[in-house]
């Protein structure tokens, strides 16, 4: 019998029961909850006269709707009454069911996928779910983490379990060393460019290879975060010393004897050398240059020195239609140099790129420079109150403000524009977020996905520019 993959091990450890047709019941260790996808689940629970199976497994935070200015007013500071009701509903549900929640005025509040790891609420070997597709982020810790719909949120609340069938195993190996200026974001965009937005559908992806091992946990979170943009519900990276060092001492992490016991177990969380994968994809890190998306799907991506492709060159007619619609929406022409694309706004933030390392990378580019006059707005939105404080302790806020960036309060913000931060129709944005879908950052808005360093460089230049020429 061949060895097991990391995914196999995590699956086996959480299997409560399995039917002959492969339908399985999987136990969930950590349930993260936010205000947008949970109200109907709590309502369903109440209507059925049920209560949460294990309230202590749940950590809740409002993040999607929260404003990124005037936070001193708390929930009352949310101008949109519909948004306010949603946050109040979360507060009420958490209070009714005894669930730990970081409220809007808590320094620990932030984007759910930033605060889980930050608090040690995400641990290696766990199953982690949340009613949010970017839950794949937590796989960076050698956890099995994936997004679920609201009906499944209710199912996990009621039973602590999920009904699932096992996915297939995919290994994405990035060999060698990435060159300076090429970040985790560029690596994952290059992977999506290679396998496509549906390439990982039906798979759990393990990211491995020297270039992944070389990443910090922040970088690994960026990569796993976008596994869903390659179609995979779960992405993961094996546990190593960096993982254990990151978790050590965090508020929700185990202590004393249990810590030793946990670490011994965590060190087994990697694929066996003879484990077999259903699909293996290999990239060379040295080939990856800073990436910029040009279309309305994350797979529509090229390098900073590239050009907008021509749909006429695409043989597949369905893809060709998709490309034409994308170019029309984005308002750019085939053959145009990526570096000639001019921008209106710059957004640095989101669960993909709002951690301290991301802010440091952007600040390193912004330091001593000024945002270009043509840029209407450049904003930096830290991933959590604690990331914000650390950045301020390091003086990053001053660097951004002096360069002409706005320094905001934590939340999902303009990644999906559920709060007041959004693009106007036709505006073009360099964004460190994860989706360039039509209207994602505001109806009619045009999004180009890039790394934090590339976003900062674009803000300074007013158009896309190779960050490697700036640092």
């Amino acid at each position: 019998m061949s060895g097991r993959t990391l995914y196999d091990k995590l699956w086996d450890a959480h299997l409560v029961r399995e039917d002959s047709d492969g339908t399985a019941l999987i136990y969930i260790d950590r349930h993260l909850v936010h205000e947008v996808t949970s109200p109907q689940a709590f309502e369903g629970l109440r209507l059925a006269g049920r209560k949460p199976w294990r309230s202590r497994s749940i950590l809740a935070v409002p993040d999607h709707n929260v404003p990124t200015i005037h936070r001193e007013r708390g929930v009352a500071g949310i101008d949109d009454p519909v948004s306010r009701i949603q946050v109040e509903t979360l507060d009420q549900n958490c209070s009714d069911f005894g669930i730990t929640e970081f409220h809007m005025d808590d320094i620990r509040q932030g984007i759910v996928h930033v605060i889980g790891p930050e608090q040690g609420a995400t641990l290696p070997g766990m199953t982690v779910v949340c009613g949010d597709s970017h839950t794949s982020t937590h796989g960076a810790f050698g956890a099995l983490a994936f997004g679920i719909g609201t009906s499944e949120v209710e199912h996990v609340l009621a039973t602590q379990c999920l009904i699932q069938k096992k996915s297939k195993n995919m290994l994405v190996r990035v060999d060698g060393e990435a060159t300076a200026g090429v970040t985790a974001k560029d690596i994952v965009l290059a992977i999506i460019g290679e396998i496509g937005t549906a390439g990982g559908t039906g798979y759990a992806i393990e990211f491995a290879g020297a270039a992944i091992e070389a990443l910090s946990l922040e970088g690994r979170m960026t990569v796993c975060n976008m596994a869903i943009e390659a179609g995979a519900r779960a992405g993961m990276v094996a546990v190593d010393q960096k993982t254990i060092d990151y978790v050590a001492g965090r508020p929700f992490a185990p202590r004393a004897e249990q810590w030793e016991q946990a670490v011994t177990h965590w060190r087994t969380l990697k694929s066996d050398p003879d484990a077999e994968f259903d699909r293996v994809v290999t990239l060379q890190a040295a080939d990856i240059r800073p990436q910029v998306t040009w279309g309305t799907s994350p797979e529509m991506v090229t390098s900073i020195d590239g050009r907008v492709p021509d749909p006429a060159q695409e043989a597949d007619t369905v893809k060709q239609t998709g490309m034409r619609k994308a170019l029309e929406y984005m308002g750019i022409q085939p053959g145009m140099a990526i570096a000639d694309i001019k921008l209106d706004r710059v957004f640095i933030g989101s669960c993909t790129n709002s951690r301290i390392e991301d802010l440091r990378a952007a600040a390193a580019v912004a330091r001593g420079r000024k945002v270009a006059p043509g840029i209407r707005q450049a904003m930096v939105v830290p991933g959590s109150g604690l990331v914000k404080k650390q950045a301020e302790d390091e003086g990053l806020d001053r660097i951004f403000i002096e360069a002409g960036f706005e320094w905001r309060e934590p939340g999902c913000s303009m990644c999906l524009a559920m709060n007041a931060d959004r693009l106007e129709p036709g505006e073009r944005c360099a964004s460190t977020s994860n989706r360039n879908f039509e209207g994602r950052q505001g109806a009619g808005g045009r999004t180009h996905l890039v790394s934090p360093a590339m976003a900062a460089a674009a803000a300074i230049a007013g158009h896309f520019v190779d960050v490697r020429d700036l640092v």
Partner: protein
Amino acid sequence: MEKFETLDAIVAPLDRPNVDTDAIIPKQYLKSVKRSGFGPNLFDDWRYLEPGEPGQDYSKRKLKPDFVLNQPRYRDARILLARENFGCGSSREHAVWALEDAGFRVVIAPSFADIFFNNCFKNGVLPIVLDAAILDRLFAQVEATPDYRLVVDLEHQTITTPDGEKLSFAVDEFRKYCLLNGLDDIGLTMQHADEIRAYEARRKTEAPWLFA
């Protein structure tokens, strides 16, 4: 959940790949704390000329005449033909709620995103995967034939075209059972509560830090 047995309905074609859940239901409508009422905002950015906001009088909004679902011939459609990777992106179940609220009970595509696919079954909507080549043929037939209908039979796992051709499709046995009977799967899982408790007891010894 409403049962799904058979459906004989008008078909509408949505001919573009990678239709994401942001397109199916834009973010401003996710602020609702309810499960219903999303139908008028299905494909909102494609359906209307101006961006919308929750609570608007939708009957006063101007429609984009060229959007396929605005064409009178597809007004009563309950089956949607789609392309690769339908429902990709955000996990928002609101996307399925909007389709269901607008009358759609079946989506046929060459492939679906995993979370969307899963969400469909929780809401009495049947997602059917067919070969891209068959989809090409169905798209051509729908566009060429006014009032084009398909008959979807879940029990026998068949789709019948107007000229009597029967296409078969695959569906997971457990999901089929839930859909045919309109079953709430929480109730089914609760039948295994003793097994869940036994698992927890074992894990508390193996991995006590998870229960601290």
